[in-house]
């Protein structure tokens, strides 16, 4: 008598949760830009038996952006999910895994991220600043001013911009631009950079000191920039890809 097929795997079953955790770590490990993402919900799971002790799993995952930049050494479990009022960003991912002799591994993943709509955020929080395009003139001005401000005050290494992570603009009651950006230390001190900034090079990847800055720029009545930069310190095995050089 043939045995009955196993019941379908539920999205909250421990096996699905374990596969999703592995998938999220895989996605973060293979991302070189933006922020780490955390699991929000398993949307769907499909299992295709391949034979004895071998099956393929297809997961549809809903992820949410955290506050940890992808270069941050903070473990994902310690990263706070970006709040709804900070204009959340969602990631939709399709992941293919295999379970061979009880060992799970990721075979492929494909993700798309998108910000929550302005209308959704405004409905709940009418005065909350909304996400702005990263190439917005005000955003670029704020990032430049913030980095210049930091470099002019620090006695440490001269920092160069790696990438802008996110930016929000508030129009009322005062005009403010909030920016977050990743930086890397160069082989120059701030003083040396003043003499010849073009000679300042990013340290090779295996020595790089990556860091992350948050800044707020007010423009009226006068321009005022508050910036806070933290270097993560030496991290073996962490690399940064120039935009456009990613392979996945």
């Amino acid at each position: 008598v043939p045995t009955a097929p196993p019941p379908p795997l539920g999205c909250d079953d421990p096996e699905s949760e374990a596969a999703a955790e592995l998938a999220v770590n895989y996605i973060n490990d293979h991302s070189h830009h933006g922020y780490k993402f955390a699991l929000n919900r398993i949307e769907n799971v499909r299992v295709i038996p391949q034979g004895l002790n071998h099956k393929i799993l297809f997961l549809e995952l809903d992820l949410l952006e955290t506050e940890c930049h992808i270069l941050s050494p903070t473990p994902l479990e310690n990263c706070t999910v970006r709040s709804f009022t900070e204009h959340a960003v969602e990631g939709d991912c399709d992941v293919k895994l295999q379970n061979l002799d009880g060992k799970l591994s990721v075979l492929a993943s494909k993700c798309h991220s998108h910000a929550d709509s302005n209308e959704d955020v405004t409905r709940v929080c009418p005065d909350c600043p909304l996400l702005a395009n990263l190439n917005n003139t005000q955003v670029l001005t704020a990032v430049t001013a913030a980095l210049n401000s930091h470099n002019s005050k620090t006695a440490g290494a001269y920092l160069k911009l790696l990438e802008i992570g996110r930016a929000r603009i508030q129009y009322h009651p005062v005009h403010l631009v909030f920016v977050e950006f990743a930086v890397a230390a160069t082989n120059c001190s701030a003083g040396e950079a003043k003499a010849n900034v073009d000679a300042c090079q990013l340290l090779p990847d295996d020595q790089s000191n990556f860091g992350f800055c948050t800044a707020t720029m007010a423009t009226q009545p006068l321009q005022d920039v508050q910036v806070d930069c933290k270097l993560y310190g030496h991290q073996a095995g962490v690399t940064y890809s120039q935009p456009g050089q990613d392979t996945s």
Binding site: P8, L9, G10, C11, D12, D13, S16, A38, L39, N40, R41, I42, E43, N44, V45, D62, L64, V81, F84, A88, E90, D116, D120
Partner: protein
């Protein structure tokens, strides 16, 4: 003789078949929301 059974009878029969305190299982997917849904 052919007798047409009423819908009410069938529903009643279905109710009786379920054990006392029966809670239907949650739908297998999607899973729970860990943070918030946007």
């Amino acid at each position: 003789p052919v007798v047409k059974r009423t819908v009410g009878e069938a529903a009643q029969h279905d109710k009786v078949a379920r054990p006392v305190g029966f809670v239907p299982p949650p739908p297998p997917c999607p899973g729970r929301v860990h943070h918030f849904k946007i």
